[in-house]
């Protein structure tokens, strides 16, 4: 897994741009399968952002949570998504498809832009200027307009002093799950998720479990839809899941 992106550039361009890069790098089509395949790369990238404490991370986290949903669904086909979540996934695919078309088209824009421009007339015929005011101009009106200007000045974008909420990273979550499993041998997903009020964290913990299932470190059992998921260790000792 390589994250050979310039972090600052990608942050500036946004999460969808990054996601599209990941998909196109693997020469995949935009669909749920490809999205679930690049989820790990994306999350790894988010964790780099997190380490650098870049304030734009919020944009990336909302996309990350959608990806986690998609991945969860691919790992656990019996997982039922509510209509809101389905829309979220459909939207993500749509956004990526639109962005992909735009990005391809923007190559033409880039190739032409400023290369051989047309020019306007430089000098306008000098005319004798006669002072031509209108009744619209008076001191009060001018004051009103300058107040409007002041009112519409963009607020300086400041790095938020504290993040809206502290989100737990994927890796932290993984290790937590492993520890919990190690302690209890069998824990339920509900117990695990009770610790987190944030839906995002629940999703991350859920994904962590699924990831562990895939790696063969734990077994997850869900007897029927909506029922709790039970997680248990397969091996007596679990290698620490570090970076």
């Amino acid at each position: 897994m390589s994250t050979d992106f310039s972090v600052s550039t990608k942050v500036f361009e946004g999460p969808l741009s990054l996601l599209l890069d990941l998909i196109e790098k693997r020469k995949l089509l935009i669909n749920e399968i490809s999205l679930s395949q690049v989820t790990n790369d994306f999350l790894e990238f988010v964790s780099i952002l997190e380490q650098k404490d870049l304030y734009k991370i919020t944009d990336f986290l909302s996309i990350a949570s959608t990806l986690i949903l998609i991945k969860s669904k691919s790992l656990l086909p019996q997982l039922d998504l509510n209509p809101e979540e389905t829309t979220e996934i459909e939207d993500l695919e749509l956004r990526l498809k639109l962005l992909q078309i735009i990005r391809r088209a923007s190559k033409d824009v880039k190739d032409l832009f400023g290369k051989k421009p047309q020019f306007s007339r430089l000098h306008i015929k000098k005319q004798i200027i006669t002072f031509s005011p209108t009744q619209q101009i008076d001191v009060l009106k001018m004051k009103w307009f300058i107040d409007q200007v002041l009112h519409h000045l963009p607020k300086t974008e400041k790095k938020p002093e504290k993040r809206v909420t502290k989100t737990i990273s994927l890796e932290e979550m993984m290790n937590k799950v492993i520890n919990r499993v190690r302690q209890n041998m069998t824990i339920s997903f509900k117990t695990l998720s009770k610790e987190h009020k944030e839906k995002k964290n629940v999703i991350i913990s859920f994904l962590a479990i699924l990831e562990l299932v895939k790696l063969g470190n734990v077994d997850a059992n869900q007897h029927s839809t909506f029922e709790d998921i039970l997680v248990e260790t397969k091996e007596p000792s679990i290698p620490s899941y570090g970076a």
């Binding site: 962005l99 421009p117 020019f119």
Partner: protein
């Protein structure tokens, strides 16, 4: 205005005199003709200038008499002020979205880019590449004539596959109209 050729003469004169984009609205009010008629005559005139050193660049709102892209190399040497031709990736992405999808609301631009485009949009506005139509309830963004001039085109649909791309994008949005209208 009795004759079409006369009307066209007047339009040529107006365009030269103004030396900046002139709206069909303004042309129609001066010449007391219909706005659509003004637009039609401009498009016809533009045809007459093909192959000349002077050309007419236009969009749905306005038109301007400008130098042809073919002489750009020579004319740019006469230009004292250096043109700002650099576009950051964010600017290029945003400008392209507006170019192919405009008029478009900021919420839709943000939706496609997945980021807040406020500052990128502001810089495009300041550079005069994009304009905001305040008449509609939601402000809509569109590229300016300056962008078309920068691209060395007479109208946007001279861009490769412009109509097809526009159509493809519109089709995608239509199919997903339940979702995309947020």
């Amino acid at each position: 205005m009795e004759h079409n050729t006369d009307t066209k003469k007047y339009i040529e004169s107006i365009l030269l005199f103004k030396g900046q984009p002139v709206s069909y609205k303004e042309i129609s009010s001066i010449l007391e003709i219909d706005k659509d008629e003004a637009k039609k005559f401009v498009a016809e005139l533009a045809q007459e200038y093909v192959g000349k050193g002077i050309t007419i660049t236009f969009n749905d709102i306005e038109a301007e008499l400008v130098t042809t892209t073919e002489t750009a190399e020579v004319i740019s040497k006469l230009q004292k002020q250096e043109l700002e031709t650099e576009l950051s990736n964010a600017s290029l992405e945003t400008l392209s979205i507006i170019l192919y999808m405009g008029p478009i609301a900021r919420s839709m631009i943000d939706f496609i880019r997945g980021v807040n485009s406020q500052f990128t949009l502001r810089s495009l506005l300041v550079r005069g590449l994009v304009e905001r139509d305040q008449n509609s309830k939601t402000p809509m963004y569109n590229v300016t004539l300056d962008t078309i001039k920068f691209l060395g085109l007479n109208k946007l649909d001279e861009l490769p596959n412009f109509k097809e791309i526009k159509h493809e994008l519109a089709q995608f949005i239509k199919e997903n109209s339940n979702n995309a209208n947020q």
